[in-house]
Symmetry: C2
Subunit: 386 residues, 2 copies
């Protein structure tokens, strides 16, 4: 079987060798950063250095950075921590689209079950949020929930404008959260400029280790912690933080920022090579999502007319291309992308959508080979045997 080409980087990315090297000594160092002795202080110093570097990259203060186990925990903690302390006494209104990842959609469902009203954020046909088409807002507390970059379409969202608009429409009553999992490490993210109250991200999406994420929480804003335990992370998240993983996340984020322009330019070249070759291999191709040049370069949501996506992903797997129909969650899931109905009206068409997400460590040759393999599978499934 051919060496598989990974076009599923939005599910997870490999740790870079430099990141693994940076972590190794801290795995071997027996120290709890909460221990009040030399060995513990050395660990604490490394943890706080990682926190400082991460804060600096993301436009936050170090004391706004909370280490978590990943974006699922961060999103859930953010939403369940913001909801109970929203200003005003009425049940809150959640402004959120159906495009959010399950790690956001699940706590939203929980809050809805507890009485919150859910109103949709308007989305244009390219999957970008509309900043000037808002639903009629009921009086009372509001919680705006909007991802910063979309894992399926690659759309980069106008979160700062949405927050601004919310503050105009509901002065003093609004709070906001952004799931920045697909944005951090890929584009510049500035927590304070976004204006959100909380932000979630995960290291394994930007070549850091799986098992650690971050939650940014606006300084001096009320928020209710979800896991207290021993009172670590200034009482905002219990449990011994992993110094090695925090060092790994900081290292991966530093590398991502140092190389951001180069990686972005390279991913654009890879994208063009992939799309050009796909056009020759599969014929005209519908790309769903933002206009070329507006979204994340490494993400291509493609519709192969007449080809069922589930079969395509399985066929691609056998042919040596890793791709996906939606977000990688529960075991072997082949569920379509949540909210895809907002972008693709025809139900049959929605079942033809495949996500291809490439990595900055890949080459033009990888893209051409992948496109050829995709072409073979697509043609076979269309019955046009070559």
């Amino acid at each position: 079987m051919a060496e598989p080409i990974n076009l599923d980087h939005n599910a997870t990315t490999p740790c870079l060798p430099g990141v693994i090297e940076a972590m190794a000594p801290w795995f071997g160092h027996a120290a709890n950063p909460a221990s009040p002795h030399q060995i513990g202080r050395k660990a604490r110093q490394a943890l706080e250095d990682a926190r400082d570097r991460i804060a600096g990259r993301l436009g936050a203060w170090p004391d706004e950075v909370v280490f978590t186990s990943g974006a699922t925990e961060s999103n859930q903690s953010a939403l369940l921590g913001l909801a109970p302390i929203l200003p005003g006494r009425a049940p809150p209104t959640l402004l959120v689209s159906k495009l959010e990842h399950p790690s956001v959609a699940t706590p939203v469902e929980l809050l809805a079950a507890r009485g919150a009203q859910v109103l949709p954020l308007a989305v244009n046909p390219q999957g970008e949020f509309e900043t000037d088409q808002w639903p009629r807002l009921p009086e009372g507390p509001l919680l705006l929930i909007a991802h910063l970059a979309h894992h399926g379409t690659g759309a980069i969202q106008p979160v700062a404008e949405l927050v601004q608009r919310m503050m105009e429409l509901a002065p003093g009553l609004g709070r906001s959260h952004t799931d920045a999992t697909q944005a951090v490490g890929k584009i510049r993210v500035n927590f304070h400029k976004l204006g959100v109250d909380t932000l979630a991200a995960s290291a394994h999406k930007f070549n850091g280790p799986a098992g650690i994420g971050l939650l940014l929480i606006r300084r001096a804003k009320p928020w209710a912690p979800q896991t207290v335990g021993g009172g670590q992370e200034l009482g905002r998240r219990g449990g011994t933080p992993s110094v090695a993983l925090a060092v790994g996340m900081a290292c991966a984020l530093d590398l991502a920022h140092e190389q951001m322009a180069i990686r972005q330019a390279h991913c654009l070249e890879l994208r063009q090579a992939l799309l050009n070759r796909l056009w020759s291999a599969c014929g005209p191709l519908e790309v769903i999502g933002p206009a070329e040049g507006r979204g994340l370069a490494h993400t291509v949501l493609a519709r192969f007319t007449g080809v069922k996506a589930g079969l395509a992903v399985m066929g691609l797997d056998l042919e040596g291309v890793a791709a996906s129909t939606g977000s990688a969650c529960a075991s072997g899931s082949q569920r379509p992308l949540p909210g895809l109905e907002l972008l693709v009206a025809d139900e049959a068409h929605r079942r033809e959508v495949v996500r291809l997400s490439l990595g900055h460590e890949q080459t033009i040759a990888d893209m051409e080979e992948a496109a050829d393999r995709i072409g073979r599978v697509v043609c076979r499934l269309r019955g046009d045997r070559q």
Copy 2:
């Protein structure tokens, strides 16, 4: 400054070199174990292999093993997940002692604030649970919460007997959880033989990586998940599991079991060497906890008469010995051990208690040097300048 000697292994232990080596390739493998393609399946295979090995070591079925971020998450998930589905309709009664770690005590407080009644489990003066002295139980659902080995005293608890007794006293109405964080990897633990519904542990306490823990949940027993997200771990814990950390935890547990008898015997020698030398260096010493030979050999809870523990720990730090007054939780905490009042009646005496926890990778020479350093600090603080 002298190279510090670590007598704080119950706070955390170093990853063994073999564990770091086992993890490294999985950090570099870009694969989400939920992705339905070759690269993802390879990751899933490694994850499930780790789960199988862990289940086998702990007397559980593989589908009873849930990967979490650590024992704090496991304890909280277990307790908040068991409480709402207890049999019977009355508010539950929690049977739990004050000796539990903050990661257990905090969710217990939360449940108490929601209406649960808390009754104490009886403890003997050595910190061991009494199996035949139970409080008068109100009618209705019961939740028994008992650690398996104590992080401060090293007491090994009769959890199986407690569960048995609960089932006799409240047939059909009782559920049970054990925090086995200090037991797993140190003594043999058999989940099914213990009879508990849930069990929590953390890899970094047995020479595995920080950032991963486990929660065992009895098959086919009701339990309410706390983090759903994308439905990973059979819907019991959301978030992408870290394959590398799971492989590291399985590797550390395998090593711990393969070397258990040797480590236990070596720790007993280390303990004797430490205690003998401490007697010569500091004079008679009160050891709090189980009778010699009954508890965890690597844990010594010692009272140095006339010496404030907070000052001792600071002095020891300067002299090059890492020790602790209690559990390492929030930053630089010097809080006394929770529940110490059950073992040491005199309040002034309680402020003289220091926890020394040694590691199987240490030597007799380390113990003798540590005891000499402790002797110097204790004598200085007692004003007996040598």
